[in-house]
């Protein structure tokens, strides 16, 4: 009985809200958009901020009167970090909810699983994952876009900076997960282009407790710098080991390093660590005239105020994906083909959280290495390197 009572009360409040809020906005049909994120499961560290971001944005957009008077409705599905679940969720969204576009999924594997389905359904997908295969070859990815920077762009940013520092020989240490595998592949493939030779190629497992052995090997192989590619506790342990060993060569981290939590955990050991980071983590340090700054400031402060945690780069990928769709809807209305075409041709010099996007028929990601800033850790805080 109490449950029904509460439900009725909720309904009453809801209808009251509809009546009292901006009067004209909710008379029109809502625009339905689907979202698939790994809210639970091993990739939940991606899915959670993405879901939170979308919930926050939808509320803000509808409060401001929706899209041209149409309320925005985003149906969020949890893929449980599983490809099969992602496919089921996409089918449900397409057939039952008749969505105009889908944003997500959070991981590369899940995104790849959706490519054939979205292509067949002729519906736009904007993935929040990083893998290059999601949008390449672009001819076979007519309906597929993504907002996360390429792994290769992060590698490019590191190597470009290293060349400036006169570093030619590097030792790489990578985690044995999908993230580490992709990073390792990119590091090895791109090295010759920059005239960099990889003198040591070490690995470690996601639950390993000590990487001293690998680092000592890298040092004795004559490397001028170490590059670690991982997310999770591994990157902190490597940092601590590197510091304790006093290796005398700089430590570079991947773009997964960009969390204040890592600085807290590594403490003093993190001093001097260099990484290519999206501007989301260093927005306070950006010059005021940088086009991304106002967006990042608004997004990060509002997110932190609402959820008491940092959004991280991952929440930002969902932000960019949703805002692109919203902008397209605003300009071309609820037409799947037109939405796709708008994003491919009109998202130019478009400042998002992940970088300044330049979509084109040849590039469905629109970001390159300029999306990253080289950032060093100084006095327990980030500092942008010139």
């Amino acid at each position: 009985m109490r449950k029904i009572g509460r439900l009725l009360l909720f309904l009453l409040i809801f209808t009251a809200l509809i009546f009292f809020s901006s009067t004209n906005s909710f008379c029109k049909e809502p625009y339905n958009i689907g979202a698939i994120f790994s809210v639970t499961g091993p990739a939940s560290f991606l899915g959670e901020p993405e879901k939170n971001t979308v919930l926050m944005l939808v509320e803000q957009i509808n409060k401001a009167g929706g899209i041209n008077g149409h309320p925005l409705k985003v149906i969020i599905e949890d893929s449980k970090s599983d490809e099969t679940q992602a496919v089921l969720a996409a089918k449900k969204l397409l057939e039952k909810d008749k969505v105009l576009a889908i944003i997500g999924p959070s991981t590369t594997g899940e995104s790849m699983a959706l490519v054939p389905i979205m292509t067949q359904a002729q519906t736009l997908l904007i993935s929040a994952a990083a893998g290059a295969n999601i949008t390449q070859p672009v001819k076979e990815r007519y309906w597929i876009f993504k907002t996360a920077q390429y792994d290769t762009s992060a590698v490019e940013a590191i190597y470009t900076y290293m060349k400036k520092q006169g570093i030619n020989k590097v030792g790489i240490i990578t985690i044995t997960t999908g993230f580490g595998d992709a990073g390792r592949k990119a590091l090895i493939e791109m090295a010759p282009k920059f005239g960099i030779s990889i003198v040591a190629d070490e690995r470690y497992g996601p639950k390993d407790t000590d990487m001293t052995t690998q680092l000592v090997k890298i040092k004795s192989a004559g490397a001028q710098a170490v590059i670690n590619w991982s997310v999770g506790p591994g990157q902190v342990i490597v940092t601590k080991n590197w510091h304790a060993l006093k290796m005398g060569i700089p430590l570079y981290q991947s773009h997964g390093w960009g969390s204040k939590k890592n600085l807290e955990l590594a403490g003093k050991a993190a001093e001097g660590v260099i990484a290519p980071l999206g501007r989301l983590v260093v927005w306070e340090k950006l010059p005021d005239k940088h086009p991304q700054k106002p967006i990042l400031k608004k997004y990060v402060t509002e997110y932190e105020a609402r959820y008491k945690s940092e959004p991280g780069t991952f929440g930002g990928h969902a932000y960019d994906a949703l805002m692109m769709v919203v902008e397209a809807l605003k300009n071309v209305g609820p037409d799947k083909k037109k939405i796709r075409d708008y994003i491919e041709t009109k998202i130019k010099k478009w400042p998002g959280t992940g970088g300044i996007f330049n979509m084109s028929p040849n590039d469905h990601c629109g970001l390159d290495m300029t999306a990253f800033e080289m950032v060093i850790v100084k006095n327990g805080d980030w500092e942008i390197l010139k």
Partner: protein, 295 residues
């Protein structure tokens, strides 16, 4: 030479934790013949609860330490009284092992709920520069880990050989029925074995967390490695678990150092299989005892 030393110390550090988990396996195994697969979770409980008391509640070090060990002991006690004791009478070993898996999943779930998925750490026991030992760099916490493990081993040896309760536990491991006929309260001994193994696991977790960080799901991997250490040395032989743990840790480190870090788990496990092939009862186990065991 410097390299070898460095690899050895790295191996000793990881080996210490494997050894402590392995000893925990043995203590429970000796009194009940079951494999407590929740053993690794106690390491996680040790690390995370220590963080909770030390950093979360800002309590002094010794208070946090005692509270953490107390919590671990309490969880061990509850685990035994609520799940193992009612089942022990039926004597279905497989069922009880399944129950320990269930408990490990339950503990992991609760820890995730309470602590989230982020890793935690706290400062090392003593601040200070790493020590240069013939060119090998050793952090002070590494010495703490190895030292604490050594102290645990000595204390356990004294406990099992010099005290009445310890000898009673040993008697239970040799023959439960005979022990009961001698007037030993076997039920209490079983409970005690769970408490001791929980506390030992927690000590390992407390010592290793400043080096390796601790997150809610680290226990499963530690259970597997600790179990390997225990059977490598000979299941049921405490000496064996120590030797097994250190051997496994050093093998991993040497493989990573001299062959390739990508192979370290595989090679270490292959060598373990080889040892068991040559000596099925483990390095210190006796083949005759193995025949009499149910597991």
């Amino acid at each position: 030479m410097t390299l070898l030393l460095q690899f050895l110390f790295s191996g000793l550090t990881t080996g210490s934790v494997y050894a402590l988990v392995g000893i925990g396996f043995n203590i429970v195994y000796n009194s009940t013949s079951i494999i407590n697969l929740a053993q690794g979770e106690f390491v996680v409980i040790g690390g995370l609860m220590m963080w909770f008391f030390l950093e979360g509640m800002q309590l002094p070090f010794t208070v946090s330490l005692s509270l953490t060990l107390l919590t671990a002991a309490l969880i061990g006690l509850l685990m035994e009284r609520l799940t193992i004791k009612p089942l022990l009478k039926k004597g279905d070993l497989l069922l009880m092992i399944m129950v320990t898996i269930a408990i490990s999943i339950l503990i992991r779930g609760i820890l995730m709920f309470k602590f989230g998925k982020d890793p935690y750490t706290y400062p090392p026991f003593t601040e200070g520069e790493p020590i240069n030992f013939y060119g090998a760099i050793i952090t002070q916490q590494t010495l703490w880990v190895i030292g604490i493990t050594a102290v645990c081993i000595v204390l356990l040896y004294l406990f099992f050989n010099k005290t009445m309760i310890g000898r009673a536990m040993k008697a239970c491991s040799l023959d439960v029925r005979a022990a009961r006929l001698m007037g030993i309260n076997v039920s209490n001994i079983v409970m005690l074995s769970f408490i001791i193994s929980a506390v030992i696991g927690a000590i390992g977790g407390i010592a290793i967390t400043p080096i390796s960080l601790m997150e809610y799901d680290k226990g499963a991997m530690l259970s597997v490695k600790g179990f390997c250490a225990a059977i490598m040395g000979g299941l049921g032989r405490s000496r064996g678990a120590v030797a097994g743990g250190f051997t496994l840790g050093i093998l991993e480190s040497l493989t990573a150092g001299y062959i390739h870090s990508g192979f370290k788990d595989a090679v270490a496990l292959l060598i373990m299989l080889f040892i068991l092939f040559v000596r099925p009862a483990g390095m210190f186990g006796k083949a005759e005892i193995l025949k009499l065991r149910k597991f």
